[in-house]
Every structure is written in structure tokens, then in C-alpha cells.
């Protein structure tokens, strides 16, 4: 059976060009970039080349603003910890209720350490109220951390404007842009963004590589202490194949933003429009202000895990914000923050499309979904 992969917000296929770019660093060019000999030392140039490509993809001013990490989570954790240390004395942090756990769980930990964290609410469409954000700002705020785009609904936040608001109060601004990079244009040089986290495997690079943008001149405290790698900003021998891969992936992603905005979006829109024709469905997240490939649709009175199991049987991969798939027993914190009613929240399915999806993928889902939902509704005790 052919696999139809519509879970690109979870992870992506590594692009063949990316695989090619990283292979030599497993085989003939396995030297340690910190070595004195040419065999290793020459690998260092590859790292710098990748840094430039990532910087270019983000529209950063200088390549030196890019720090390679192991993943998006490390980038987020490092960014938040470093920011707080460089705004010592300030005890407030502003974030949102719908952040990824890589931010949310750090925020909770900060509360235990005596920080005062404000979790901004979102409205029914998953959007933030910027007036409320302005209201909450004061001279005590050390850091504002707001994601660029939500992983579950794809809703895009006005992160550039939020960064400006943060700077008006001399607070730092960090954004978890793991879902946004490669899908929407980003130009850091002209923005007030101080720190930005990204993850390789969300943009067709492998897992285990991430990057953190740190605005030039911004004070920085390393999270991993060790050798002098990354100019002392992150100890640990560099993941050279991963870095080479991320460089290549960033290069392709920059070219690909246009394809996301046109082709991928059209696929998503067709899928979504047809799914929403099934009675008792709703879209979760703002209709327009959304990543081009993400569609989060809820099916009333059926449970998400059951839908995913049936899709899985048909070779279709998607995700759910339903309780049963999340490890906790409550439906997704994002859907709850948006006030999605329980009978919808438990039955949410996220389809996330990417570079390798085609019309045939959408056709397949549209063939399978309506009878599948009808069958589960037949079993369900709730109907109206």
C-alpha cells in the first residue's frame, strides 16, 4: 500500500539533495573540525558555509548570528535561559497559552524558580489580542516569547509586531519559528527579533539538528558548557553531517517558500474545502492567517485516535489533538485555549502538507474520509 504522508508538521522527508550533501561527512570526510590536521580542519569550512546558507534563508544580517544546536527544543531552551540571564533583575516573562511544550514547559519551570509568567490567551480563531499584550507589558518584563506559527492549527502570529512591542519596553523577544521557517518568508535583518529557534527535520533536513538565531550584539550565555566549539557558545563536537544537511535544506527552503504559498496551499485548500463539506465538521484556526500547508479539522462526536487508526489502516498518516494520542488525557491545550467545544476538540485531525505531497494524496484522503467518519459516527452514542 502506498503511504500518503500528511504529517509534515511532525516531521518531513529528508530531501534527496540534502541526503547527498551530508553523506560525505559520514564516509570519506569524517574528520573532527576541531582537529589541527587538514583532514579534520577542512570540515570546518563546511560548517561556515552551512551557517551562511541558514543566515540567508532567515534574512539575517550576518552568518555569525547563527548557532547550530541539536534541535528546536534545545534552541528554545537556550534562547529563553540566555535572555533571562542578560536581563537580570527583571522577573516577568510573557508568552502564550498555545506555545509548543519546548517553551511552555520552560515557562512552567521558570514559575517554580520565582518568575512571574503571563500566558496570553487566544481567541476562537487562535489569534492573539495585541492590545492585551501591550497592556501586560511593563519595565519588569525580561522576555516575550511568542511562536511564529502554531504547530497544531498553523495560525501565524504577527511576530514582527510583537517584537517591536517588546523592544518598546526594552524586553527581549524570542520566537519559536520551528513551524514557520521555509513556509513563510522571514527577514530577520529588518526586524526586532532577538532570538529565533528552528529545527532541521521540519524543513526536509534530518532529525538531530537545529539552529538558533541570536541577533548580533545580543549578550549570550551558553546552555551547553564544554569546548570552544561555535565560538564558545555551545560546547560539544559539531554534528557535521547534520549541519551540512541543514545548510542545504535551508538553501532549498528559501527557494521553496514560493511553492508553499502557491502549490502546497492550493492542495491544502482543496482538501480542506472538501472535508468541511462532511456534516458536523469545523475548521480550527483562522481561515486566512495560517501556514499554507496546515489544516486542522474537527469531526463532531467522533474521537481523533479512532480516526487516525482507521486512516493508518489505509496508509494515511496524520495527527490528532485528541486526548488519546497526546499522552495526557485531555484534548490539546491549543484547542482548549481556543475554546473549541469538547465534542469537536476530541475529534480533531491535523493534516499537514509539504513539498512532496501531490494531488493524488489529496484525492486518496477525500476518498477515505467521508465513509470513515460515517462509520465511526454509527458507533458513537452521541448524534444530533
Amino acid at each position: 500500500m502506498r503511504t500518503v504522508y500528511l504529517d509534515n508538521n511532525a516531521t518531513t522527508q529528508v530531501a534527496p539533495e540534502v541526503v547527498e550533501a551530508m553523506m560525505p561527512f559520514f564516509t570519506e570526510r569524517y574528520g573532527n573540525p576541531s582537529s589541527m590536521h587538514d583532514f579534520g580542519g577542512s570540515v570546518g569550512k563546511v560548517i561556515e558555509d552551512a551557517r551562511e546558507k541558514v543566515a540567508a534563508c532567515l534574512g539575517a544580517e550576518q552568518a555569525s548570528e547563527i548557532l547550530f544546536t541539536s534541535c528546536g527544543t534545545e534552541s528554545d531552551n537556550t534562547a529563553i535561559r540566555s535572555a533571562l540571564l542578560s536581563r537580570k533583575g527583571r522577573k516577568r516573562v510573557l508568552t502564550t497559552r498555545v506555545e509548543h511544550p519546548a517553551v511552555l514547559n520552560v515557562a512552567r519551570q521558570l514559575e517554580r524558580e520565582g518568575f512571574d509568567v503571563t500566558y496570553l490567551p487566544v481567541d476562537r480563531d487562535g489569534l492573539l489580542d495585541l492590545d492585551l499584550l501591550r497592556e501586560k507589558m511593563d519595565a519588569e518584563v525580561a522576555l516575550v516569547s511568542v511562536m511564529a506559527a502554531n504547530n497544531e492549527t498553523g495560525v501565524i502570529f504577527p511576530f514582527e509586531e510583537i517584537a517591536r512591542i517588546a523592544h518598546e519596553h526594552d524586553a527581549l523577544f524570542h520566537t519559536d519559528a520551528v513551524q514557520a521557517v521555509g513556509k513563510i518568508p522571514i527577514r530577520l535583518a529588518d526586524s526586532d527579533i532577538d532570538l529565533l529557534a528552528l529545527s532541521g527535520h521540519k524543513l526536509n533536513a534530518p532529525k538531530g539538528i537545529g539552529a538558533l538565531y541570536i541577533r548580533r550584539g545580543q549578550r549570550f550565555r551558553p546552555f551547553l558548557l564544554g569546548g570552544h566549539q561555535e565560538r564558545g557558545r555551545r560546547g560539544g563536537t559539531e554534528n557535521v553531517p547534520g549541519i551540512a544537511a541543514l545548510g542545504k535544506a535551508a538553501e532549498i527552503a528559501a527557494e521553496h517558500v514560493c511553492d508553499e504559498r502557491t502549490r502546497v496551499r492550493a492542495l491544502r485548500d482543496r482538501l480542506e474545502a472538501e472535508l468541511l463539506k462532511i456534516p458536523g465538521t469545523r475548521l480550527n484556526g483562522h481561515k486566512e492567517q495560517r501556514l499554507p500547508g496546515t489544516s486542522n479539522v474537527s469531526f463532531k462526536n467522533v474521537e481523533g485516535e479512532a480516526i487516525l487508526l482507521m486512516l493508518n489502516q489505509e496508509g494515511i498518516c496524520a495527527s490528532s489533538g485528541s486526548a488519546c494520542t497526546s499522552g495526557t488525557l485531555e484534548p490539546s491545550h491549543v484547542l482548549r485555549a481556543m475554546g473549541v467545544p469538547f465534542n469537536f476538540a476530541h475529534g480533531s485531525v491535523r493534516f499537514s502538507l509539504g513539498r512532496y505531497n501531490t494531488d493524488a494524496d489529496v484525492d486518496r484522503v477525500l476518498e477515505v474520509m467521508p465513509p470513515l467518519i460515517a462509520r465511526l459516527r454509527e458507533i458513537s452514542p452521541f448524534r444530533d
Binding site: 474521537e303 481523533g304 479512532a306 487508526l309 485531555e330 452521541f382
Partner: protein
């Protein structure tokens, strides 16, 4: 979290048996709610003359294991007398499916509760699960779970950690603010259990003579076993004690009961636990 479902769970999920609602059922049980993320509605037909369940149908809102547990439950109860059906535990449902992932055990608990509710509805008795709703304070607000239920499941399923309690009841699986209370309840229950075991232990050690053993066996049967059988209108006669071999005869409702195998296994365990680990139980047919 990837699915770790047995083939049987998958079979019952993809082709559930007995889906639907019996028109004019003799008994109906509803548990769970849409807010909790799973709900089960069970309807049964009962043959008044034989007290046997002749038909059972279900409707479930929930994940793969919830649907599979409900389907399996309806298969298990059909043809059983009400008492036999009531002796089915949530562990039995899970076992019949070849096991459920630990974090999905609450699905089997839901099945057991719906069954009890349906039978009690037929008998006109208030369901235990419902009594628990009134009984004691609500410990977990996220899922509306009362202390009574938590205590019962800890005892019945031998739970040892807060995580177990969450897996079996969902309590603690939401915001998590009730976990400290669950821990207290757990400590209390485990403490009680330890005390009970400690009380039993010396008894086992004191046994010196054959006579002492015979007396203790009689004591266990009279005080621990028979009251429970009598609750279900059953009983037993002690026929003989020969060394480590204890012979009994089941009487009343217990004789010929389909669940008799389970019951006698339990009696043997009790005797081994309290009197002597070498005891074997023999059951004479009436």
C-alpha cells in the same frame, strides 16, 4: 505515542461486534461523557426465566481501545447469567483482548462500569459507579472522579502508583492538580493493605500442628470466603481436610455457576496466602 494494540484489539476495533442500541432494552447503562473523551452506552436483553443475557449492544465514543473493549464486552456477556456477567472484571475484558496498553486500562474499566450499570438498571438497583458519584468528595475535577471510585479501583486492580490510578480511572490525567490527593489516597490504601498483610503473616508462622492448620482453614473459609459467596446467594461446604488437600463443595448459586472456576481459584489463593502456600483445593460436584 504509537499504537501498541494486539491483533484482537484491532479486530474488534475495525470490525466491532454488536454495534447499536437494542430497542426497548431490559437494561441500559451509560458511562463517561463527551467532556471526558470517552463514553459507552450498553443495552441488554435479559431472559427473565433463566436470568441470562440474551443480547447486548453498544455504542461508544472513544479511541481504538474503548471501541474494542466495548465490542469484546458484548461478546463476553451474551449467554451469561447476570451474576456470571457481574463477575467479569475489567482485567478480564483486557485479558480477553490479549491485553491493553497500560495507559488505556480505563477503557476496560468503563466497560465493566457500563455492564454493572445495565444490570443494576434491569434489577432496579442503583449502580455502584453512580453511588460513588455521590459517595465522597470529587478528587479529580477534570474528569469528575470521586474518592470512592479511586479507592475501589486501587483495591480491585492492585494499583501501586499515581500513574496506575490515572491509567485505570483517568484521574490525574488532565491538569494534574489532583495528583497530591491521589497520592494520599494511595498511601492510605497501601498502608491498609500492608497492615492487613502484617496481621495475616504471623498467623501463618504460628501454625505448628495439624489441628492448628485445620482450625485456620475453617476460620478463613467462614470469615473471608463465605460472606462473599453469600452475598451472591451462594455458599460452600467444607468436605474434608487431608494434609494440604482441602475439599469443598459449592452450593446455592455458586454450584454450576459459569464463573465457578474463577471463584474456586480465588478461594485457593486465599487459603494459600493466609494458611499455607502448599494448599491445594479440590471441588466436589454436587
Amino acid at each position: 505515542m504509537a499504537w501498541d494494540y494486539t491483533d484482537l484489539v484491532k479486530q474488534h476495533f475495525f470490525s466491532p461486534r454488536n454495534v447499536g442500541k437494542i430497542e426497548a432494552p431490559d437494561g441500559a447503562g451509560q458511562v463517561g461523557s463527551i467532556a471526558c473523551g470517552d463514553a459507552l452506552s450498553l443495552t441488554i436483553k435479559v431472559d427473565g426465566a433463566t436470568d441470562r443475557i440474551t443480547d447486548a449492544k453498544f455504542q461508544t465514543f472513544g479511541c481504538g481501545s474503548a471501541i474494542a473493549s466495548s465490542s469484546m464486552l458484548t461478546e463476553m456477556v451474551k449467554g451469561k447469567t447476570l451474576d456470571e456477567a457481574l463477575s467479569i472484571t475489567n482485567q478480564d475484558i483486557a485479558a480477553a483482548l490479549g491485553g491493553l496498553p497500560a495507559e488505556k486500562m480505563h477503557c476496560s474499566v468503563m466497560g465493566r462500569e457500563a455492564l454493572e450499570a445495565a444490570i443494576n438498571d434491569y434489577r432496579g438497583v442503583k449502580a455502584k459507579a453512580e453511588e460513588e458519584k455521590d459517595e465522597g468528595r470529587i478528587v479529580c475535577n477534570c474528569f469528575g472522579i470521586a474518592e470512592g471510585k479511586i479507592r475501589r479501583v486501587i483495591r480491585e486492580d492492585n494499583l501501586r502508583t499515581v500513574e496506575d490510578v490515572t491509567n485505570y480511572t483517568k484521574a490525574g490525567g488532565g491538569c494534574g492538580s489532583c495528583t497530591a490527593q491521589i497520592e494520599e489516597i494511595l498511601e492510605d490504601e497501601l498502608g491498609k493493605k500492608a497492615a492487613e498483610e502484617a496481621a495475616v503473616q504471623p498467623a501463618r508462622k504460628r501454625l505448628r500442628t495439624n489441628l492448628e492448620r485445620i482450625n485456620l482453614i475453617q476460620e478463613v473459609l467462614d470469615n473471608e470466603v463465605r460472606p462473599i459467596l453469600q452475598k451472591d446467594s451462594g455458599d460452600l461446604d467444607l468436605v474434608d481436610i487431608d494434609g494440604h488437600r482441602v475439599t469443598i463443595r459449592m452450593v446455592g448459586h455458586c454450584s454450576g455457576c459459569r464463573a465457578a472456576g474463577l471463584t474456586t481459584g480465588w478461594i485457593e489463593d486465599k487459603l494459600r496466602e493466609i494458611v499455607d502456600p502448599n494448599i491445594s483445593l479440590e471441588v466436589l460436584e454436587e
